[in-house]
Every structure is written in structure tokens, then in C-alpha cells.
Amino acid sequence: MSALLTIARKDLKLIARDRAAMVFLVLVPLVVVTVLAKSLAGSDTGSLLLPVVNEDQGPVAEVLIEALSEHADVVEVDRARAEALVGEDKVAPAALVVPERTTKRYLASRPSTLLLLTDPAKGAAVGAVKAYLLLADRRAAEIADPLFEELLVMEERNLTGSRASIPPSEQNVPGFSIMFVMMGVLFGVAFGLHDEQAWGAITRLRTAPIPRWSFLGGKLLARFLVGIVQLVLLFVYGYVAFDLSLGSAPAALALIMVAVVFCMTGFSLLVAAFARTREQVIPLGLTVVMIFCALGGCWWPLYHMPPWLQQVAQLSFATWAMEGFHDVILRERDLLGVLPAIGVLFAYGALCLGAGARLYRFDTA
């Protein structure tokens, strides 16, 4: 019994000695729980942006806008701006066009077709807009002629691709693929470097005529290639098992994959540089993986989160990775269309790579 207590006391001393690991042990759950709670609270904030093109300029459009304003942030814009907010800027899941003469047709009990321009990549938010429109239509129906129904007919037009709806697997497969590849690359790089130090391989290499960058570069290249293979396999599995669409531009998809794994590799070096001991790798690694994935929209769509958190999420490369995959898979964009996301990912990765290489200390074992 005394031997058991002695061993436990010794282990506790060892654990307490690694203060950083202790901090992560407490910090990880706190930070992750906070991020999750804030992210999931976002769906009730009513912060959905809904551009409305009021070509009618009559009381029917006014009633609709008033009713929609109770649920969403309605902004009156022209058609070009509405299309840009949904299609190019991707800040609104849908835009409503109330055509000219809607009020006049309504007064004459003639149906009008309202146009809903959507971004199906934001499927749940588009669903919410449709629900708000139903409520608004009910409001309009309250003052309508009782024998004439369906005076406001809805026509939906996908502004960003050819499909009207997106299955949940097309959000989940890329999201969880990013998470698992990120875990693989990050832990692989961090553990690999710490193990090399522990085994004295780095000390031996420092005496050899091998430049520091080629040692780091070699290790990172191996992990990068493993990450690429892992990501490709996960997407192929998604394609076969879940009918995941791979978009219409294979080159764009391939380049996005390369950019994502490159970014992960650079980021992993930075994390490895921060983790002073092998024990610190797990809590630190788990913290960043969970936070980056939660913020980046890997587990749920980004637009579910409150606007301020969506802004914070821009700091996570997972956000750009998901955006890139969504652009290719859901919005069917070509290489030119995903270049901004690819550019950000390469820049992010290069920055992390530079900072990681500078911060990583070859002499700490």
C-alpha cells in the first residue's frame, strides 16, 4: 500500500512540474466549452442578413419587409447588390426580389411570383429564410381576399450552383476530413520532432553537415504527403459512401487540398514549437484542433454562429479551408473562383512555417 502511495506521489510531482501541461489540462475544457456554447447559441440570435430588392415599391412589399424584419436583418438593395451579397460576398444565404407591379397585381387578385435567390451552400439558413417568408406570407394573407389564395408564389433560383438543395453529408464529410487530417498532421509533426529530440537524433544531426531547414523540411514534407493521401482517401470515401459531390473543377479541388494540408503542416510546426515537452503536445494540440474546427465551421455551418464569432473565425485556417471546399463542391466554382481561399491558405501556412521554424528550438530535449 505504501509503495502504491509513493508511486502516486512521485507521479503527481512529475505532473505538477510540467506547469504548462497543467494549464492546458484545465484550460482545454474551459476554452472548448466556451467556444462550443457561443457557437451553438448563434442560431437563435436572428442575425440573418436578408437583402430585399423592392421593385414593387408598394404596400404589399412594405408588409412583407415589415414582417421579415421581425426575424432577419432586412436591407433594401438593388438587384446587383443583392446578387453580390449572396453570390460573391457570401454574407447572405438568400435575397428576395419583389417584382414590379406586385401590389397592383395583388389588388387585382392576380398572383405574382416572388424570386428567392439562394446560396444552397447555406442550406439551413436558406430554410430559415423560407420559414420567415411563410410567416410573412401569412401576414399578407391576413389582409387578402379569402377566396383567392396563392397570390404570392415563390420561385427559387440557385445563385451559386446548379443544385437546389445540399445534403448534410456535403457539410459533414469535408468538415470531419479537415479535423482528422489536422489531428494527424499536427500530432505527427509535433510528436515526431519531440521524439527526435528525445532520441538524440537532432543532436547527432546538428553535428552532421545537414542544414537545419532540410532536416525540418524533410520531416514536414513527409507529414504533408501523408496528410494529402489521408485527405484524398477521405474524400474518395465520401464520394463512394455518401455520394459527396466533388464539384466541376478537379484542378480547383486538388489545389485546395494541397493548400489546406500545406497550411496544416506549417501550423503544426508552430504548435510543435510552442509545446516545450511531449506531454504538452496532447492538450495544446487538442485545444487548437477543437477550437479551430469549431470556429471554422467543420462541425456546423459558420452562419449558425453569432456575427462577432464569425469575424473571429476568420483567424482560423479551417474557416478558409471549409470556404474553399464549399466553393468547389457546393457552389461549383472553378479555379479562378477559389483563388482567394487558396491564396489565404498558402499565406497562412507560409507565415506559420516561418514563425514555427524561427521559434522551434533544436537544443531543447
Partner: protein
Amino acid sequence: MKLSGLRVLLALVLALSQVGAADPEAAVGVVRETLSAARKVADGEGTRDEKLESLRGVARGILDTREMGRRAGGESLAAQTPEKQAEYYELFDHVIVRAYLSKLLLFRKPRFGYRKPRLEGEVVIVGSKVITTKDEYYVDYEMRERDGRWVATDVIVEGISLSDNYYEQFSSLLRGRSFDELLDLMRRKTRRVREEPA
């Protein structure tokens, strides 16, 4: 002299033809009064339901819902029993008043304008318009004098006659369904309207 006699005769004939003819300005006055009363009710004190009840009264004061119902029902209505016709007229009264008010209530604090009335035989077409800051919406009243007072036997909103609109709707319905089914539909719709006022 002969020519002068003919002129006098012609003048007499013309004068006699005007006896009993409609006075367009009187019809315009009735429409003005109705819209002004509706505006007063809408802007006045009272709950939404109280206002609606008052507005129904105002609408019934000008609309000849029986004549409109007769036109909308067409030949199918004429072929029905007096009991069914009576029920139809009662239900149609609710429907058409609601329809008229729904058009009127679409506008908040409306301004009304009037065009020169048009005389078409015994009928006076009183052209009114609802003026908003961005547009104008035309509502014409087909006015007839009945028992010494002017009533609207049709309302033409943006060029579409309410009576004709219902005639088309009912005819299309009666092509696939019976008159009893039409009555049933009207019963259900008006019940819903009565349960959920406007």
C-alpha cells in the same frame, strides 16, 4: 322660321332625355363620403376589431353586394333553389366586403384622388385613386341609383372588375364541382374569416 322651330324641338327632346338621367356629381359625392368615412374609422379610436366592424358597415353602405353576387354567380346561380340562392347571397356579402376592405386596408393612411366621372347610360363610373408617395392605384366604382340612393354595383381595381373576377373564379370552380361544393367552400372561407377577423 322653320329652322328655328326645329331647333326648339331638338332642344326640347334633349332636355326631356336628361330627365331621370344620372347626376355624376352625386355619385362622386357618395364615393367621396364613403372613402372619407373609411379613412376616419381607420384613423380613429378603437380596437382593430371594432374598426373592422365599423369599416364593414361603411362598405355595406356603398356596395350593392346582391347585384355583385348575381353577376358573379351567373347562370349557375339562377338555376339554384331560392334557399340556396339566399345562402349564396349571404355568404357572398361577407366575401365581397372582406375583399373590398382587404384592398382598402392594404394602404396605411391613404390619400384619395378623384377623376372626372364618366356617364355610361344609367351608370356613372367614378374614378378614384389611392395616392402613395411612390405610386397611384386606380379604383373605379360603377355607380347606379337604386331607390333614390347611389350604390356601387361593381368595383374595378386596377382595371379588374371584382364581379368579373369572382365570376371567372366561380365558373372555373363549377366546371369541376357542384354548386353545393362552392357553397361549402364559401362557408368554410367565411367561417375562417369570421373566426380570425381580417
